[in-house]
């Protein structure tokens, strides 16, 4: 019968979580990392110690950091590392990527850093994967917030094996459609088509399979860079 209380306490916490009230404000990552390595001054260290005793979020973050210091290292695929290097080129995370596989009017979503609109819900790539959703019939609508705007890209399958790409832009806060934005379809550095959004959206029709860039710009500056790669 010994050890019943500790076991019960573990189960209690697993079910109920913390009993403590979360304090306001948290030390940033740098302070936490320095605390773990005893790099803080005495008073600062005591302040963090006091916070950690009453903040389960920060305590978990610190303890996890300490626990995973030693462990296996994992190598990144070289092509993935190359992709990470492109992030800086996309200026402030302006790059909106969509990779699809098209087969018999079914789209298989290979990758996107946007979110897929399903009904009223926006679902990120990981959410789709955990729900085992990959395929989309006839069309897929993907959304990404970039700085102050929300870019929506709808891709529809055509009977001829090509596809239509529709781009619209909204104000992120008010969700009002933005007009007077220019959207250009570019392949291998050459501009194929370019239109100004005068009503609600710009549609590029009967686009063939392949890799394209879509540049969205206002009169003053570039707003978003969309990369669409549709494989067969």
């Amino acid at each position: 019968m010994a050890g019943k209380l500790p076991k019960l306490l573990k189960m209690f916490y697993k079910k109920n979580g913390s009993c403590l009230k979360m304090p306001q404000g948290h030390p940033d990552e740098e302070i936490l990392a320095c605390f773990a390595q005893n790099l803080l001054s005495g008073p600062e260290s005591l302040e963090v110690s006091s916070h950690l005793q009453s903040c389960s979020f920060c305590a978990e973050a610190l303890l996890t950091q300490i626990r995973v210091v030693r462990g296996k290292n994992y190598n990144l695929p070289p092509e993935f590392r190359a992709k990470l290097k492109l992030i800086a080129d996309s200026e402030n995370g302006r790059l909106f990527e969509i990779i699809l596989k098209n087969a018999e009017k079914i789209f298989e979503l290979i990758y996107t850093n946007g979110q897929v609109l399903m009904g009223q819900e926006m679902i990120p790539m990981q959410g789709l994967r955990s729900r085992n959703i990959r395929d989309f019939k006839d069309s897929v609508l993907i959304v990404k917030d970039i700085n102050n705007i929300r870019v929506e890209v709808k891709i529809d399958s055509c009977s001829c094996g090509c596809f239509n790409v529709t781009v619209s832009v909204r104000n992120k806060k008010t969700l009002k459609l933005l007009k007077d934005c220019r959207v250009s379809l570019i392949q291998s550095g050459a501009e194929l088509e370019s239109y100004v959004i005068d009503k609600t959206a710009v549609t590029f029709e009967r686009v063939l399979l392949g890799k394209y860039s879509l540049e969205v710009s206002s009169q003053d500056s570039g707003l978003a860079d969309i990369s669409v790669d549709i494989k067969s």
Binding site: M1, A36, A59, V68, L84, A88
Partner: protein, 201 residues
């Protein structure tokens, strides 16, 4: 090169510096995503880990590298150390959003469910209270502990911190912590006994 200067070069859009940053730290961040998730009991696929890694690099770069610029190298903190903590926080926060709630029938790490535990060990309590009520009574007793004692129980049993980790957080010697812990468990035992539960320590 000075790490603050390195961060400054990246935030000034020096492509070469960003490329070096990816070369130096992407493996560390990717490995920490795997290690953190495993330590929490979640096994990521390489695709999941790559998605998170990509999002984390985007987070560092977005809004003119605002997140990366919060690194100030205070107290001689190294960039790698800071990135490790950023990664751990990011993964925990992601898993917190996606982690399902515990079911009473779910098997715990020892292979037994709460139902089994209650049925096999707490017969007198089972007659009086349903599972949730038991926890309510326990919570009531815990909230009667001194704040210092409750914080210690929380870290010991919720975060499952080891004695060494508790020493680090509390900045106290192990003997002092042991004394505080035994005082708290005795109080809990007495309180629960008063409610009709016989809990041996």
């Amino acid at each position: 090169m000075d790490e603050l200067e390195f961060v400054r070069r990246i935030s000034c859009r020096d492509k070469n510096a960003w490329s070096q940053f990816v070369d130096r730290y992407s493996r560390l961040i990717y490995s920490y995503i795997f290690r953190t998730s495993r330590s929490i009991g979640v096994v990521f696929t390489p695709e999941d880990a790559q998605d998170l890694c990509h999002e984390l690099f985007l987070l560092l770069a977005e809004n003119d590298f605002a997140k990366l610029k919060t690194f100030k190298a205070r107290n001689e903190c190294r960039l790698a150390t800071w990135l490790r903590q950023v990664t751990v926080n990011y993964v925990i926060s992601y898993l917190r959003k996606t982690k399902p709630l515990l079911s009473l029938d779910e098997e715990n790490s020892t292979g037994s469910s709460l139902h089994e535990f209650l049925q096999s060990n707490l017969k007198s309590a089972r007659q009086n209270l349903a599972d949730d009520e038991l926890f309510l009574e326990l919570k009531d007793c815990m909230l009667k502990l001194d704040p210092d004692e409750l914080r210690l129980m929380e870290l010991a049993y919720y975060q499952q911190a080891t004695s060494r980790e508790l020493e680090l957080i509390f900045r106290l010697k192990r003997s002092a912590l042991d004394m505080r812990k035994s005082r708290a468990t005795a109080k809990l035992r007495d309180c629960m006994q008063g409610k009709g539960f016989m809990l041996d320590l």
